[in-house]
């Protein structure tokens, strides 16, 4: 059995989003017998559009329903985008600027891939964890 805890803190200084400062914190833990993970992976995103060579972040049905995905675009420039899409209908789901991260429980039955339109091959980091099947 293994437990993974994910915690988020959203903060905004006074006068930035609203007149007063904002702060939101939340966490969620997942405990699973026989938990599996891809480990922390890092790869250069080579594809510049939806394509078979796009970087595979998650393969459909690799895990039982509800695997968790963490992704980060490690580029330093906010204009260096990585687009994350689902491979069934080729619909873009995430638009990640340099420095952006995402965390979400997946439905799990669709392959998730990434491409980078700039052709500059930015690095993407990711972890998937859940119940292997």
């Amino acid at each position: 059995m293994a437990t993974v805890t994910a915690a988020i803190t959203l903060t905004s200084a006074a006068g930035d989003l609203t007149t007063d400062a904002l702060s939101l914190s939340d966490s969620t833990s997942m405990t699973i017998t026989g938990m599996a993970t891809t480990g922390l992976a890092r790869a250069k995103v080579q594809a510049t559009a939806v394509h078979a060579t796009a970087t595979v972040l998650y393969t459909a049905d690799d895990y039982a329903a509800g695997p968790h995905l963490y992704i980060k675009n490690t580029a330093a420039s906010a204009s260096e985008y990585i687009w994350v899409y689902e491979d069934t209908n080729d619909r873009v789901i995430l638009k990640m600027a340099g420095g952006d991260w995402a965390f979400m429980p997946l439905k799990g039955d669709t392959t998730i891939k990434a491409y980078a339109p700039s052709g500059n091959n930015p690095n993407v980091e990711w972890i998937v964890y859940g119940t292997d099947q």
Binding site: A7, L17, F103, K107
Partner: protein, 142 residues
């Protein structure tokens, strides 16, 4: 002066050694260094198990923009879930939040990409979301 999101991912037993990932992103308007300056913070009761809820509630498109979304299933029942989809005729599902779970992600929002749709597993589930965005083109409402 900025808005930031920090994630900490920890586990003492998922691998042979403890795992600890911590990362922070600073929200800027698309492609630049200007701070984002608009927010919608909502709590919504998903009153129907068949009617989708859009985030935001109406089409507010901007072809080049920056959107960050935090969304949480407020149900205390671990088997009750909400499905997160990309808008479409039937919606393209990609996320699934069981009771108490949350997600955070940056996304696109334009005519090609569509909005975020949410559909609960049963009527009456509460959710909350924080949508941080930049200049929405309200003239494009439909």
């Amino acid at each position: 002066m900025a808005t930031t999101a920090t994630l900490t991912l920890t586990s003492a037993d998922i691998a042979g050694d403890p795992v600890n990932v911590s990362t922070t992103s600073t929200f800027t308007k698309a492609g630049g260094t200007v701070d984002m300056d608009q927010i919608s913070y909502m709590k919504v009761n998903l009153g129907s198990a068949t009617d989708k809820v859009l985030i935001p509630a109406s089409h507010e498109y901007n072809t080049v923009n920056s959107n960050k979304l935090y969304i949480k299933n407020l149900s205390t029942v671990s088997t009750e879930y909400i499905t997160i989809k990309i808008e479409g005729s039937t919606g393209i599902p990609f996320g699934k939040l069981y009771g108490g779970q949350w997600a955070f992600f940056p996304y696109n929002q334009n005519d090609a990409a569509g909005l975020i749709e949410v559909l609960p597993s049963k009527a009456g589930i509460d959710m909350e979301y924080v949508w941080i965005h930049e200049n929405v083109d309200i003239l494009a409402d439909d």
